[in-house]
Symmetry: C2
Subunit: 147 residues, 2 copies
Amino acid sequence: METLTIGDMAARSGVAASALRYYEREGLLHAARTGGNQRRYERADLRRIAFIKIAQQVGVSLEEIREALAELPENRTPTKADWSRLSSRWRHRLDERIAMMERLRDQLTGCIGCGCLSLQRCNLINPRDQLATRGTGPQMILNPPED
Amino acid sequence: METLTIGDMAARSGVAASALRYYEREGLLHAARTGGNQRRYERADLRRIAFIKIAQQVGVSLEEIREALAELPENRTPTKADWSRLSSRWRHRLDERIAMMERLRDQLTGCIGCGCLSLQRCNLINPRDQLATRGTGPQMILNPPED
DNA sequence: CCTTGAGTTGAAGTGCACTTCAAGTTGCAG
DNA sequence: CTGCAACTTGAAGTGCACTTCAACTCAAGG
């Protein structure tokens, strides 16, 4: 049926064509080719791109997104059920992330009240929040004895 | 009074010493020096570092954090009022960010229901959410005609 | 005093997520 | 059939937020 060029996809998804090529190199996306080797996408691929964008907003690396997308069937166009399964898993990620931000906000509000922002009593960033702490040191800001 | 070495600060804040030096180069932090040129921090600086960490969690760049911290008095130790002012501004940022994530979650939930994840009707990512879209292309995923 | 762990610097390296470039090819409108 | 915008590739460049390295100096306990 009507397929879309990389330019079409870029325009429709808001993701630059160069990024789409990059995603393909990284295994997040795959496009059919014309006889002349140009990429041709199906409209279903817009879902994939949407998913990538959403996951990035949640703060997930492309590597992790790639792994998630690998669960979708390769041979056939993913069904609603396929997407539902994946999406509900990511909803949990979102929930966790939101919960963390809410704790953060509540603690910060408390800190505004006392003007402290010192975190020894606030214990603002808790070490279980793995999602948000990728790449940072092992220790979190917590229970320093005084201040 | 008792001052803290860079190692102390690293241990207490959970931020690597190399990162603290980097923050200093970038103008987010400033430390006094001993006769032998070693950094000596005051405990109040732990607040600054805590603030940096919090702001990063919210997804703010060091550049923006630097600008925010520049509003604190340089000559004196920031008072509770100084911190309160800054913190309440950042609480708004957090609120916005949480609101966006909640919209994201609600929309995703809706998408799970219909299995679509297509975003044309969902309009999942709205263009006003500047905070989350740093560095990405100008167009957002929204109202593509079909699919 | 002397040793040793902790600190200092500038420069270079890393990882992620892209973007830009150069040189060439394709596909559609006129 | 031609012209030109849009596509192709690999390689190199970018920006952020750090980390690592080498060579060196400092500070404090025994």
